[in-house]
């Protein structure tokens, strides 16, 4: 079996992606020493390399645009190369936060109220008036983030209207459209989902307790700065609600193989959907591998199974 792990790319999450790729490739090599597992960056030479040395299966672990927005997966589908993870179409829906939120909301999943706007709206209508309307509609505090992208890049929590313009500029630095979302106070958890022999299974929720208010880039990738609880400190009902939400999202959005859903649990028992990742981080500090470890499932074991399924079925 020849497996190609794609990581890196040109997004701001390049470094995270390279680390994810390295970790998955290493786990796979240990699990299947007879397989040929290679890691490759994504650049203009990729298609030529794929043509010369066509892999049996690809593991796309690019984070951020191109990797998660479905574009690269579209190319792989066109080339008819099996890959693990969600299809191009499903990835496109999941990667766009306001679209994913709306789709799951229609199906009855709770998600914080939000508004998404491009920079041009503020330019054409006047930022002050638009932001006033947003604050009046959502109330404070508000979470501001780019509609596409991960690792909390460009994300901030705004407590006063005066902080909002600066937060908008921070979000627009990472994308053309910004999402303003009502801040929901509660327990921040992440639930990883994977597929095995036709079943869709949810792992135990991982609870995230960052040093500061925000589980930001530094908190995500500096070991020691965030405290994780796996399983999360939840009641049985809350734990089941969290897993049910992640399973619902995975199925509703038509995701495949693996995903990770981030959510907030409020004291009234509601699980609030924030976003879902089709290429979950696999670094040393990432949530998906922590959940697997708690369930005593090897990252290499799971990945090898998904590869074998993809090769057989796609």
């Amino acid at each position: 079996m020849h497996v190609l792990v794609l990581s890196g790319g040109l997004s701001a999450e390049r470094d995270v992606s390279l680390r994810s790729g390295r970790r998955v490739a290493e786990a796979l090599r240990t699990e299947r020493p007879d397989w040929e597992v290679r890691e490759q960056d994504v650049d203009a030479g990729l298609l030529d390399r794929l043509a010369q040395h066509r892999p049996d299966c690809i593991i796309p672990l690019l984070h951020g645009a191109a990797g998660e927005d479905g574009a690269l997966r579209n190319v792989l589908e066109s080339l008819n190369i099996p890959f693990i993870g969600s299809s191009a179409a499903a990835s496109r829906l999941a990667f766009d936060k306001p679209i994913a939120k709306r789709l799951v909301e229609i199906a009855g999943v709770s998600t914080p109220a939000c508004v998404a706007m491009p920079q041009s709206t503020f330019r054409e209508l006047g930022a002050t008036g638009v932001l006033d309307a947003v604050v009046a509609s959502l109330g404070l505090p508000i979470v501001v983030k780019p509609t596409k992208g991960g690792s909390a890049l460009g994300t901030s929590v705004v407590h006063t209207a005066a902080e909002l313009p600066s937060a908008m500029v921070g979000a627009f630095a990472y994308g053309e459209v910004a999402l303003m979302e009502r801040h929901v106070a509660g327990v921040e958890v992440s639930v990883s989902v994977f597929e095995r022999v036709g079943d869709v299974l949810a792992l135990s929720a991982v609870e995230i307790v960052p040093e500061g208010e925000l589980y930001d880039y530094a908190a995500r990738y500096t070991a020691g700065t965030t405290e994780f609880f796996c399983p999360a400190r939840l009641t049985d009902e809350q734990a089941l609600a969290a897993q049910a939400l992640a399973l619902d999202v995975h199925v509703l959005l038509g995701l495949r193989d693996w995903s990770r859903t981030d959510m907030i649990l409020t004291p009234d028992g509601t699980a609030w959907f924030l976003e879902v990742n089709v290429a979950p981080g696999m670094t040393e500090t990432s949530l998906f591998p922590q959940a697997l470890l708690a369930a005593e499932i090897g990252l290499g074991t799971l990945t090898a199974e998904l590869v074998e399924t993809a090769v057989l079925e796609r």
């Binding site: 701001a12 313009p165 630095a173 307790v209 070991a223 020691g224 965030t226 405290e227 609880f229 796996c230």
Partner: protein
């Protein structure tokens, strides 16, 4: 019930390690290493201008003829022949010394570390230019020094500001141990101290009894006239002079040096032995052989021409393309120009947009310990070819235009938090 922090040693680290964190800025620099990105960020010397065949031959000769010595431990002070040859190099900037006054180090970065180790207790003050070299700030921080920035003008450190800073430090009950300066083709400011200014600064340092740490990696890379005379040339006892082969031969060999007064040098040798036992013998002998057998002065002229052409490409395109309200320094040598953005723009906040537009720079806050420099960025012209520099400036101009539009839309003087120390890339990497 406590959770997992994913690092069992998190409670064992020294307090100075707490600032060593992952950062968005470093994440963006990971993208800047891709060939699609025009990186005006790193200060990587253009080593492709070296005669690689001759270096290969030199390195082979070292191994063939002196292999047993090259591959063995050596003196903590450095190879004596190389120290004699370094005298010729520093002679170009007017420094005279005895080979015993020189200690060879693993790049001049190691010399910075050793000098700080020898001079500074936690809380001691180091006076630095405003802005200052990020790698030096990292060393001073590692030794828990208080870094105090002193204003610069077109001629470098401002003497009256230095006086005021010394008075303020004393009033605060602290002691300034070092005045750290890069007098030639400053990193990152691109400014060169005039000779009169050097004399004024030296007089203040002598009067106050504070050692000057003169960092001169770029002194031989001027584009006009003779290399500026070093401050050390006028006071062998009050100035510790740092030099490097990283820019004049090869940064990968990691060979630099310190020229220091007798007592300081004795301690630096002991500190060097404690840190690394000895600098690499192989690298030293290769440099020594190169200096003995190759036309190294001619090679420096080649580097000067390469960098002058790139400096010109940068300045011409900045002049042609930068939006109104943008200013920059005009370096007479070295690797860098220091750009000031139009009012209200923040170079750190702008970096993600720049990287998405495939151009990278180093935001100005990295060159301060106190959050200054938001409106500034450092542009390096040393590594990309002139056409790439022009393309990079074209992209940067577009990014600044967009950022101006954004600032106008939101009426912001936006800021997203400073980044310092461990947030910035290794100084001489892309």
């Amino acid at each position: 019930m406590s959770g997992s922090r994913l690092d069992p040693w998190v409670d064992s680290y020294a307090s100075r390690a707490h600032a060593m964190r992952a950062s968005e800025i470093r994440a963006l620099f990971a993208v800047a290493s891709r060939p699609e990105v025009v990186s005006l960020a790193g200060g990587m010397p253009f080593v492709q201008a070296l005669p690689i065949d001759m270096l290969l031959e030199t390195a082979q000769r070292v191994l063939r003829e002196r292999g047993a010595q090259a591959l063995q431990y050596g003196s903590g002070q450095g190879d004596v022949t190389l120290r004699e040859q370094i005298l010729q190099v520093i002679g170009e900037v007017g420094v005279t010394a005895h080979p015993d006054d020189i200690i060879v180090t693993t790049g001049s970065q190691m010399a910075l570390d050793l000098v700080t180790r020898v001079f500074c207790d936690p809380g001691d003050v180091v006076l630095v230019e405003s802005p200052s070299y990020v790698g030096a700030l990292g060393v001073f921080r590692a030794y828990e020094c208080d870094v105090v920035h002193v204003a610069m003008d077109d001629e470098g450190l401002v003497p009256s500001a230095l006086d005021e800073a010394i008075v303020a430090v004393r009033a605060a009950g602290k002691r300034a141990k070092l005045i750290y300066t890069i007098p030639n083709f400053h990193n990152p400011a691109g400014i060169t101290q005039g000779q009169a200014r050097r004399a004024e600064l030296l007089a203040i340092a002598q009067r106050e009894g504070i050692a000057i740490l003169e960092d001169d990696p770029y002194g031989l890379l001027g584009f006009e006239g003779e290399p500026p005379r070093a401050i050390r040339a006028n006071d062998p006892d009050g100035v510790i002079y740092l030099g490097s082969f990283s820019k004049t031969i090869a940064s990968g060999l990691r060979v630099g040096w310190a020229v220091a007064p007798h007592g300081v040098r004795e301690k630096l040798v002991l500190a060097n032995e404690a840190a690394v036992l000895c600098p690499s013998n192989y690298a030293q002998l290769t440099i020594s052989e190169y200096l003995a057998t190759q036309p190294w002065r001619e090679q420096i002229k080649t580097f000067q021409e390469v960098y002058r052409e790139r400096r010109d490409a940068l300045l011409e395109s900045l002049q042609a393309l930068m939006p109104e309200g943008t200013t920059w320094t005009i370096p007479a040598g070295g690797f860098y120009s220091w750009l000031t953005l139009p009012h209200g723009l923040d170079a750190t906040a702008m970096l993600p947009r720049a990287v998405a537009s495939l151009v990278a720079y180093v935001p100005g806050t990295g060159f301060y310990v106190d959050g200054q420099g938001r409106q500034n960025l450092r542009l390096s012209y040393c590594y990309p070819e002139p056409d790439r520099i022009r393309e990079g400036v074209r992209r940067l101009a577009g990014v600044i235009e967009s950022e101006l539009e954004l600032a106008e839309t939101f009426g912001t003087t936006h800021s997203r938090g400073a980044f310092t120390g461990s947030s910035v890339p290794a100084p001489d990497l892309r």
